[in-house]
């Protein structure tokens, strides 16, 4: 569905991605793991069109989409939930959801907002509240719900568990699983390797701008290199500094 071939992205003179090859198959959860600064978010931004790669191609549904603008990519079906809960804080929850369907012109938006709110009951409860007054976990759910309203074929989630309490993280991961079961492909960037691999079908591990390991998620969970590097500690979520 999505295919990256030899992607190289730069921040000015600094090369952040050194030839990334990555494939996302329809109907799966693919996860991208790695430490801070490995280039996970850069990869996401490149796919979503926020950054333009210097070399390489991004193909989506067999079409070359390299270098398109984010709004063009969204129309093609790639939606990004950016890192750190980018919500519109002085709009209400319902207005935020409506903004998610910004580019759509069909008449089902109202029904679908209803539908999404059933999936996220907390948003239904708080629909007329300012989004900025929600808690961190609720904001993250709002950001995901908003992205779903653009009816994406591929949902890019950039560290949805960042800075959230373990209980909320578990809830978010359940939701991601449900999204996949409802037919949306998910590409998930995570530092929380254990949780991510549990719900994912396939995983890639990045280090300093390169993919060093890839494989089935169930295999990666057992892989001694990964266990040592990422799963060694028991602690799951709040042992990192937000980037």
């Amino acid at each position: 569905m999505l295919k990256l071939t030899n992607i190289e992205t730069y921040y000015g003179q600094i090369q952040a991605l050194k030839g990334i090859d990555l494939e996302v198959n329809e109907g799966k959860i693919i996860t991208l793991l790695g430490a801070n600064g490995a280039g996970k978010s850069t990869t996401m931004k490149t796919i979503a069109g926020l950054l333009k790669p210097k070399k390489g191609t991004v193909e989506f549904l067999g079409e070359n989409v390299t270098g398109l603008r984010p709004d063009q990519l969204l129309r093609k079906g790639i939606a990004l939930v950016p890192e750190g809960r980018a919500i519109l804080s002085t709009m209400t929850v319902i207005e935020n959801l409506e903004m998610g369907a910004y580019h759509r012109k069909d008449k089902d938006v109202k029904d679908e907002i209803e539908h999404v709110m059933q999936r996220f009951p907390i948003l239904n409860e708080r629909q007329s509240q300012m989004a900025g007054t929600l808690s961190g976990g609720q904001q993250q759910m709002l950001a995901i719900a908003r992205a779903l309203l653009s009816k994406p074929k591929l949902l890019l989630l950039d560290e949805p568990s960042m800075g959230l309490a373990p209980l909320i993280v578990a809830e978010i991961f359940n939701i991601i699983k449900e999204i996949k079961e409802a037919g949306t492909t998910v590409l998930l960037v995570e530092q929380n390797a254990k949780q991510a691999l549990k719900i994912a079908d396939y995983g890639y591990v990045m280090e300093t701008g390169k993919i060093i390991i890839e494989g089935k998620a169930s295999d990666l969970l057992e892989d001694p290199r990964i266990v040592e590097a990422y799963l060694g500690r028991k602690s799951t979520s709040d042992d990192k500094i937000p980037s």
């Binding site: 926020l50 603008r69 709004d71 969204l74 129309r75 990004l80 919500i87 519109l88 910004y102 908003r146």
Partner: protein, 317 residues
């Protein structure tokens, strides 16, 4: 009877208020997409000089001159807007302030065209042109009990009022549309707006250009109300003054821009009787306001409360 009420002095102040409202809106519109532009004075100058030169040298109708002035300012807004949108916050403010100064210096030095710092005189005055036009049809202000100069100022105020109302109507309509939604989401969070599929470059240039167009329009009107312009009318002081209108009144709502321009144009006039101290008072008012109410007099909460007040009164009735 009518003639006694209509005092040219009041009418002139009223017309300045209306022009200042247009200028305040020209800052408000870019600000509603999160861009602080201090280029209004420069764009105003471009509009004023374009319209004045066109009407003086080519004898074209005022309305076309004014529109041309606004359009030239708008086009300049696009040209300047595209590269400067990489900047944000104070950096954009400084860049646009610099632009205004460059424009002013060009006016001072391009003497063959602009007559330098002496300024342009003999710009067709809007009210007189209309008076002459009306006289051509055999109309005389005395027929409705007015002196000629009263009629002239009255016509100016009416035209400006119509333009201001049209502008406010347009901006309010736009705010409640898809365009307005994307502008305010860009203001809140550019990254989020981008990930929702909003073409942020397009909308930022759009709002910046609208601001430039409005400033150009106000400048062209200013030229044809005053009949005389010089580069010092469009200096750095003017840019700051325009910004203060918007910030003082409240930069979140359009009513703030309208109120700020009205109030701050009136204060120096009302305080004329203590002329030596009036700018001290003006300054103190600004300092107190910024310390006590940094978001300006009007904000969304105050508006909602006022609306609530009206509604509850209606309920009692």
């Amino acid at each position: 009877m009518l003639a006694d009420i209509i005092n040219p002095y009041f009418l002139q102040i009223l017309s300045f208020i209306l022009i200042n409202i247009l200028l305040a809106i020209s800052v408000y519109v870019p600000l509603s997409s999160g861009q602080l532009s201090l280029g209004s004075a420069g764009f105003m100058g471009v509009g004023a000089y374009t319209s004045a030169l066109l009407t003086i040298h080519f004898d074209i109708p005022l309305i076309i001159g004014i529109l041309a002035g606004a359009c030239v300012a708008g086009i300049l807004g696009i040209i300047v807007g595209i590269p400067s949108l990489r900047l944000s916050g104070v950096y954009l403010a400084i860049a646009t302030l610099g632009l205004g100064e460059v424009i002013r210096v060009i006016f001072v030095n391009w003497e063959s065209l602009t007559k330098g710092s002496i300024g342009l005189t003999g710009i067709p005055q809007m009210g007189r042109e209309i008076l002459n036009f009306a006289k051509g049809f055999g109309f005389d202000p005395a027929m409705i009990g007015l002196k000629s100069n009263q009629f002239v100022y009255l016509v100016i105020v009416l035209i400006l009022l119509l333009l201001v109302i049209a502008t406010i109507w347009f901006v309010v309509r736009q705010q409640n549309s898809r365009v307005g939604r994307s502008l305010s989401s860009i203001q809140m969070d550019e990254k989020a707006a981008e990930s929702m599929g909003i073409n942020i470059t397009y909308y930022k240039v759009l709002s910046f250009t609208q601001g430039a167009f409005l400033a150009g329009l106000a400048g062209a009107l200013f030229a044809h109300v005053m009949g005389y312009i010089s580069p010092s009318d469009f200096s750095y002081h003017r840019a700051v003054e325009i910004l203060i209108f918007t910030v003082f009144g409240g930069s979140e709502v359009i009513l703030g821009a309208v109120f700020g321009a009205t109030f701050l144009t009136l204060v120096p006039e009302v305080l004329r009787f203590i002329s030596d101290y009036r700018y001290i008072i003006y300054g103190i008012v600004l300092i107190i306001l910024m310390a006590v109410r940094p978001q300006g007099i009007f904000d969304i909460h105050l508006l909602n409360r006022l609306k609530g007040l009206k509604r509850s009164k209606g309920g009692v009735r």
